[in-house]
C-alpha cells in the first residue's frame, strides 16, 4: 500500500476528469488538476470553500444539493450519477456528467470522522452540443435555411447548436464552424460580460422577445467588423431541454433609414416653421408696396398732382386695375397657403346671417351700382343664427355674390336667406341668384378648381380664378356645401348650405 500511494496521487493528479472530494458540509477537501482544467479554479482557490458556491449555477443549486444528499445518505461505497449544468470560473456554463462515491471516514483525506464523498466530473458539454446539434440539424436545418433571417440556436450553456446559412453569411463564418462556440463569439468584446448575465436570466425565464423593440444591438463578424443587428428570441422546447432560438437581422439599413427619417423630420419641421414665418410676413410685405402703387395711382387719377390727358388717365386706370388684381391674387394665394398649412384657424360663434349678407352687399354696392344692377335681399322675418366662423362665412358669401355681380351685366342679383326645411336641422341656406350669362354645362365639373376662370361669353372679366376654389374649401372646413344651378344665358344660382349647430 505504501508504495502504491505516490502512484495513486500521480494518477489522480493527471486524470482528465475533475476529481473532487468534499466533506459532509459540502466543503471542498481536495481538487485535482482535472478540476482546475474543467472549472478554471486552482486548488488553492477551491479547497476549503463550499462546492455549490463555486460551481453550481444559482438555479441549479437545489438540484445539485439533492444529488449530493442522495449520495451522502447512501451507505458507504454506494455510487450516484448526475448530469447537469455547472458554472466555470469565467462564468461560462458547461454540462458535466458527475459520478459520486460515498466514503467511510478516512484519515487520508479528512481528519474528521465524518463521511466524505469523492466526485468524478466529466465535461460533456461538447458531446451535448453535438447531440443537440444533430437532433436540430435533422429536424430543422432545411426549414431554417429557408428562413430570411439568420437563425442561431443556443442550448442552456449558451453554446451554438445550430446556425443556419444566413447566420453563417451574416457573421462571415464557413459552414459548421459556429457549432459548439459560445454565442458571445458573435458579440463585440465589450458586450460579452454583460451578455452572460442576460443569457442566464433568459434561460431562467424564457419568453418570446420580438425584434426591434428599441434596443441598439451590435454583432461582431468573423473579420472583426461590428454590425448593428436586430434580434428576436424565443424558447424552443425539445425533449432534451429548453433551447433558445434567436433570429438575427442586419439592421444597418434600418438604422440608416431611421437616422435619415429623423433628419428629414427635423428638416421638415424647420421648413414648416420657416413657411409659417414666411406667411406671416408675406401678407404685410407684399401689400405694402401695392399700397403705394394703388394709392398714388389714385391721387394721380384724382388730379391732385395736376391735370391729366385722356390717354394718361386711361393708362393710370389700367395700372390701378392691375394693382387691385394683383392685390386680390396675393390675398387669395395667402388664404390658400394658410389652408394648405392648416393655419386657417376657425373661431366658431353664433352669427346672424342677415348681418353678414347686408355687410357683403353693402361692400359690393359700388360695383353693382356702376353696372346698374338691382340688388334684392330676401330676408326671413325672424333672425337666423348659425354656428360658424365669421371670416370664412363672410369670404364665401363675398365670393359668390361678387361673382354674381361680375357675370351679370343687366338685371337683378337676388340674395335670399332661409332656414332649411328639414325639421329641427337648424341649417340655413344662402342663395345668390343672378340674371347673368350663366355657366356652360361643360364648365360645371371644373367650376371649383383653382385658377379655373371660365366665362360663358368669352369676355375678359376681372378675377383670380381662386374665388370659388377657396369658397369650396372654406365651406368644407365649415361642414357646409355650395350648390350650383345655371341656365346658359339666363343666369346662375349659387346656394351655400350651412349645417345646424
Amino acid at each position: 500500500m505504501g508504495e502504491q500511494q505516490p502512484i495513486d496521487a500521480f494518477l489522480l493528479e493527471h486524470a482528465a476528469d475533475a476529481v473532487i472530494a468534499i466533506d459532509a458540509d459540502r466543503m471542498i477537501l481536495s481538487w485535482n488538476r482535472g478540476a482546475e482544467d474543467i472549472y478554471g479554479f486552482t486548488a488553492a482557490e477551491a479547497v476549503g470553500r463550499p462546492l455549490l458556491d463555486l460551481t453550481a449555477p444559482d438555479d441549479q443549486a437545489a438540484e445539485t444539493h439533492a444529488h449530493l444528499d442522495h449520495i451522502f445518505d447512501a451507505s458507504a461505497g454506494a455510487v450516484g450519477s448526475f448530469e447537469g449544468l455547472r458554472k466555470r470560473k469565467d462564468g461560462l456554463l458547461i454540462y458535466i456528467a458527475s459520478t459520486g462515491r460515498r466514503l467511510a471516514s478516512n484519515p487520508a483525506i479528512s481528519a474528521s470522522a465524518a463521511p466524505a464523498v469523492v466526485l468524478s466530473d466529466k465535461d460533456v458539454t461538447h458531446a451535448r452540443v453535438s447531440r443537440d446539434s444533430k437532433m436540430l440539424e435533422n429536424r430543422f436545418r432545411d426549414v431554417f435555411d429557408l428562413m430570411p433571417d439568420a437563425i442561431v440556436v443556443l442550448n442552456a450553456t449558451g453554446r451554438i447548436v445550430l446556425a443556419n446559412k444566413q447566420a453563417e453569411d451574416l457573421f462571415g463564418y464557413s459552414h459548421g464552424v459556429l457549432v459548439g462556440e459560445p454565442v458571445e463569439c458573435l458579440l463585440p468584446e465589450r458586450l460579452r460580460a454583460a451578455h452572460f448575465g442576460h443569457r442566464a436570466n433568459y434561460i431562467r425565464h424564457p419568453r418570446v422577445r420580438a425584434m426591434g423593440i428599441g434596443l441598439e444591438l451590435h454583432g461582431l463578424r468573423a473579420d472583426g467588423v461590428e454590425i448593428p443587428v436586430d434580434v428576436s428570441l424565443s424558447p424552443l422546447e425539445t425533449p432534451e431541454g429548453t433551447l433558445v432560438l434567436s433570429a438575427i437581422r442586419n439592421a444597418t439599413e434600418r438604422r440608416q433609414f431611421e437616422t435619415q427619417l429623423r433628419d428629414k423630420n427635423a428638416q421638415l419641421a424647420a421648413a414648416m416653421q420657416a413657411k409659417d414665418r414666411f406667411l406671416a410676413t408675406m401678407s404685410h410685405e407684399l401689400r405694402t408696396p401695392l399700397n403705394a402703387v394703388i394709392g398714388f395711382t389714385g391721387t394721380l387719377l384724382m388730379r391732385l398732382a395736376g391735370p391729366l390727358t385722356e390717354e394718361q388717365e386711361r393708362q393710370l386706370r389700367t395700372i390701378r386695375t392691375s394693382g387691385r388684381h394683383l392685390l386680390s391674387l396675393i390675398n387669395d394665394l395667402l388664404d390658400l397657403a394658410r389652408m394648405d398649412a392648416d393655419k386657417l384657424d376657425l373661431s366658431m360663434e353664433r352669427i346672424d346671417c342677415q348681418d353678414i349678407i347686408e355687410a357683403v352687399m353693402t361692400a359690393l354696392r359700388p360695383q353693382s351700382d356702376s353696372k346698374g344692377l338691382s340688388v334684392i335681399l330676401e330676408m326671413p322675418p325672424a333672425q337666423l343664427m348659425v354656428w360658424t366662423d365669421r371670416r370664412a362665412l363672410t369670404q364665401i358669401v363675398t365670393n359668390i355674390a361678387a361673382n354674381a355681380v361680375k357675370f351679370c351685366d343687366h338685371g337683378t342679383v337676388r340674395v335670399s336667406l332661409r332656414s332649411l326645411p328639414e325639421a329641427g336641422s337648424g341649417g340655413v341656406a344662402i342663395a345668390v341668384a343672378d340674371t347673368g350669362i350663366g355657366i356652360r354645362a361643360e364648365h360645371m365639373p371644373t367650376l371649383f378648381d383653382a385658377f379655373s376662370r371660365l366665362s360663358a361669353d368669352g369676355a375678359e372679366r376681372e378675377g383670380t380664378g381662386l374665388g370659388l376654389h377657396i369658397s369650396k374649401r372654406l365651406a368644407d372646413r365649415l361642414g357646409a356645401r355650395i350648390e350650383v344651378s345655371s341656365t346658359l344665358g339666363a343666369g346662375s344660382v349659387f346656394t351655400l348650405v350651412l349645417p345646424g349647430e
Binding site: S283, N291, F296, L304
Partner: protein
Amino acid sequence: MAPRVLIIEDHADSRELMHFLLSRSGYDVICAADGVEGLEAARRTQPDLIISDIQIPRLNGFQVAAAIAADPNLRHIPLIAVTASAMAGDRETIVRSGFHDYVSKPIEPETFVVQIARFLNPGTGL
C-alpha cells in the same frame, strides 16, 4: 387753424401717400416713423387725430394705443389704425385695443380723406 393730423407709419411711401392726401385736403400733417417717435410727437404737438400703422418698430400700434389711452393729455384724441392685415376678425381686435376705427391697406385715396374727416370735430371748420 387747420386740424392737425399725426401719421405714425414706418413705410416711407405709405407715409408720403397719406401726407400728400391729407395736406392737399388742408390738414396740418405731422409724421413719425415708429411708435416711440409717434408718442413723442403726439405729446409735443397735441394733434386732433392720430393715424397709426399696426406693424411699426419699437412700439407697435397696439402699444401706442395703450400708451395714448393711459395718457390724460392724449386719451381724448381719436385714433385710427391703418393695417395691411385687414381681416374681418381683426376689426374687433383693433377696436377693442382702443382704436376708433381702421383703414385697410391699400388706402383708397378717393375714400381715405372722407373716412378720416368723420373723426375730426366738425367744429374745426372742415
